[in-house]
């Protein structure tokens, strides 16, 4: 493939960022919006072209004709910074199943959000938000960074764009920069992810030092040998280097590789909001809602999943690191689902739901083993990433529509909106059905694959994750009923009735809803697998049906339906059941409602420990001890000067005295010596 189109895919959003950022304030709002949207639309079309070419063209550089294995294709790769002859950061474009998939996901969601924002970022009277152009510039910057991240050819390129993504997310969360809560939320997001990135960076350093390369193709290539797809000779040998090196193959109780992988996973935990580094994501909802849809539901937060998937062959070599991923993911999934049941801010419910769903993907990666259905978990994870991006973006955009109409994030202000906003109602319902895993919506297939993979790994985690899936259905329908049913909406005096939104907002909702309905039929098993080898022989529209493990599927379906029924009973009409439930388990409810006091804990650590016990004492030490020592030295010099100044009094008689005493002493000494 010619590198022209890939270069444009990366360059166009960057150009848009520069144009809108530097010249935006000279443009009209409408022009800026159109420019940004058109730019992103073009990028989307190009990304589709690239992605479809990769999957379906049959080009020998993309698929091995003999083994039907999809290959990693480096479209271009320019040296950017050479640390040593072998450790070189290159900026390039890597096409393989997951990056092609991500190209589609990112550009689709991003385009939807660009389009949607044209309507969202102005109020009912058509007045544009201040900084509208800036908003589009940041969106473009984010899209650029995210695209750069997924097509990275080496781990350091990924880290570069990883940081850029973090920074643009900072800018977008803090978009309403005059609002103190938005400022502190953006700060929190950046610092927490930065802390995680420290682990990522150290992991990269360890890994690259022992393997001598940054390149993904060297680190993770997979090849066929004796009919079995496995980690390639080159990967294995470069990783074996780690063990062959006599210097420190073991570092603080773990092998170097484990440390490297776990630290890299820590970076992923930060971006993907895994416990305990999840605290930034709920706060990040301070940003405009389209931003939440783009960044905090569909793209940036899955970067961690993507990172683990990208290095999956390496993780396969260290069982322990995969176990850690499973445990972290499972705990996070349950935690987030429980918290989501008690939140009253709709965006926060969605945020915790996102955390929970990403944890699903993580667990799925953690349980993936080549022995079981050719690494089904890996495929399921990517599949869920894809479907989740679609329906979660849909849910967020619906939430945005609601907030736009009501002017509040709190569902207590919403109740019973189904008649006022029919389109939003239907699309939101589709989203809920999808996330709950009701056949035939998108979430059903992907979640079912995940549960199947978990089942194949361990029954305990299977039961655990099924329970979480039930909780998911419950809290999503709780939210749905509380917004659209519960009791009739009364229009407060002086306000106009809530109504559906302009077409720029409606269109993305409809498109995404349609995708959520049909995305489950995409034969992902043939497109994205850990070793590039398709799972199915024949592909048709019912492939996914055919591949289902109906045992698992029917159980999960049953769980979901029961959960929905419970939610219906409790929340469809105004009734005292929720209060009763709350009083049944008051402590649990309180802990969930306060998100298990994680924020307070972090507050304590940052303010009391970091600031109070480290920074302040250091500043004190610097001021009084180090600086004090210097000033003390100066003071001592001055004091001595003052003290001996009296000797040089100008009083000649005193001089004679000194002279006399000196002479006498000398004389006495001489006399004594001569005696």
């Amino acid at each position: 493939m010619q590198p022209v189109i890939p270069i444009i895919i990366l360059a166009l959003p960057l150009t848009m960022f520069l144009v809108l950022g530097l010249l935006g304030h000279k443009m009209s709002h409408r022009l800026a919006g159109i420019l940004g949207t058109a730019g992103m639309g073009t990028t989307m079309v190009l990304a589709y072209i690239v992605s479809f070419t990769y999957f379906f063209s049959g080009n020998p550089s993309f698929i091995d004709a003999d083994t039907h294995t999809r290959l990693q294709a480096v479209i271009f790769n320019h040296d950017w910074l050479a640390f040593t002859p072998s450790l070189v950061i290159r900026l390039g474009f890597l096409l393989d199943p997951i990056s092609a998939l991500m190209l589609v996901v990112i550009t689709t969601i991003s385009f939807m959000v660009h389009l949607y924002s044209n309507g969202y970022m102005r109020d009912h009277h058509g007045v544009w938000e201040t900084g509208f152009q800036r908003f589009y510039a940041f969106l473009s910057l984010f899209s650029f960074s995210m695209l750069g991240l997924v097509v990275a050819t080496n781990i350091f390129q990924m880290y570069i764009f990883w940081e850029l993504v973090g920074a643009s997310s900072y800018l977008l969360i803090g978009f309403y920069y005059t609002k103190p809560s938005a400022v502190s939320a953006s700060k929190k997001a950046f610092i927490v992810t930065r802390f995680a990135d420290l682990g990522f960076l150290i992991g990269i350093l360890i890994l690259s030092f022992y393997t001598g390369t940054f390149n993904f193709t060297d680190l993770t290539s997979v090849e066929v040998s004796n009919g079995v797809y496995q980690i390639s000779e080159s990967t294995a040998s470069s990783v074996k280097n780690i063990f062959a090196t006599s210097a420190a193959p073991v570092f603080m109780g773990g092998s170097v590789l484990t440390w490297a992988l776990v630290l890299i996973f820590m970076g992923g935990m930060g971006k993907s909001a895994m416990m305990p580094l999840h605290i930034w994501l709920p706060d990040a909802m301070e940003g405009p809602t389209p931003v939440s849809a783009l960044i905090h539901a569909a793209t940036m937060v899955v970067a961690g999943v993507y990172l683990v998937a990208r290095l999956f062959p390496l993780y396969l070599m260290e069982e322990m690191s995969l176990q850690i991923i499973v445990v972290v993911g499972a705990l996070t999934a349950l935690y987030a689902a429980m918290v989501a049941c008690t939140q009253i801010d709709i965006k926060r419910v969605l945020a915790f739901s996102t955390i929970s769903q990403i944890a699903f993907m993580m667990v799925s990666l953690g349980v993936a083993r080549p022995e079981f259905h050719h690494g089904l978990g890996y495929m399921a994870s990517m599949f869920h990433l894809f479907t989740h991006a679609m329906f979660k973006a849909l849910l967020f955009l619906c939430a945005g529509a609601l907030i736009h109409a009501i002017g509040s994030n709190d569902y207590t202000a919403m109740h019973g909106l189904r008649k006022h906003m029919p389109v939003t109602h239907i699309t939101f319902l589709i989203g809920c059905l999808a996330i709950a895993g009701i056949i035939p919506f998108a979430g059903f297939f992907s979640k079912d694959e995940i549960l199947t993979a978990t089942m194949g790994h361990s029954t305990f985690w299977y039961v655990w994750m099924s329970a979480v899936a039930g909780l998911t259905a419950f809290y999503m329908f709780r939210l749905y009923y509380l917004i659209f049913w519960w009791k009739e909406h009364k229009v407060p005096q002086g306000h106009h009735a809530p109504h559906d939104q302009p077409w720029t907002m409606t269109l993305p909702l409809v498109i995404l809803a349609v995708i959520s309905c049909v995305a489950g039929f995409v034969p992902m098993g043939n497109l994205v697998t850990w070793n590039g080898h398709g799972m199915f022989e024949n592909v048709n529209i019912f492939t996914n049906f055919a591949a289902l493990d109906w045992g698992v599927a029917s159980i999960s379906l049953a769980v979901a339906i029961i959960a929905i029924i419970i939610a219906t009973v409790m929340y469809k009409k105004e009734n005292p059941l929720p209060e009763k439930m709350k009083n049944l388990l008051p402590n649990l409810w309180r802990w969930c409602h306060h998100r298990f006091y994680w924020d307070e804990l972090y507050m304590f650590i940052t303010h009391k420990i970091i600031f109070g016990c480290i920074s302040k004492p250091i500043a004190w030490f610097d001021h009084y001890i180090v600086d004090g020592a210097m000033n003390g030295l100066a003071l001592l010099t001055q004091k001595v000067s003052y003290a001996i100044r009296g000797l040089q009094s100008g009083n000649i008689q005193m001089y004679v005295w000194y002279y006399l005493i000196g002479a006498l002493l000398l004389g006495a000494i001489t006399a004594i010596c001569l005696i």
């Binding site: 100008g650 000649i652 008689q653 004679v656």
Partner: protein
Amino acid sequence: MELTMIYYLIPSLIMFCCGVYGFITRRNMIAILISLELMLNAVDINFVVFNRFLFPGEMEGMFFTLFAIGLAAAETALAIAIIINVFRVSNSIDVRDVNKMKH
């Protein structure tokens, strides 16, 4: 009894010590100057005595004394001029009062 050097040096020493005593105890500037003259004179005596007793053929000691007398005259003249000037300014010739240039 032979009048050896020591007989001349001891009075000179006493004279010098008197000068020292005066110099460090008196407060009147003229008195200090007088003590100074005593010390100078004691030194002069020593030069002359050494010349006469140790190097009788030479004249160095004598000439040194000669020049010292000249210098003493010059020095006294200047010192007295300064003292008179100080007196005009501060109406006192007590050394303790002459400290205005110190600060």
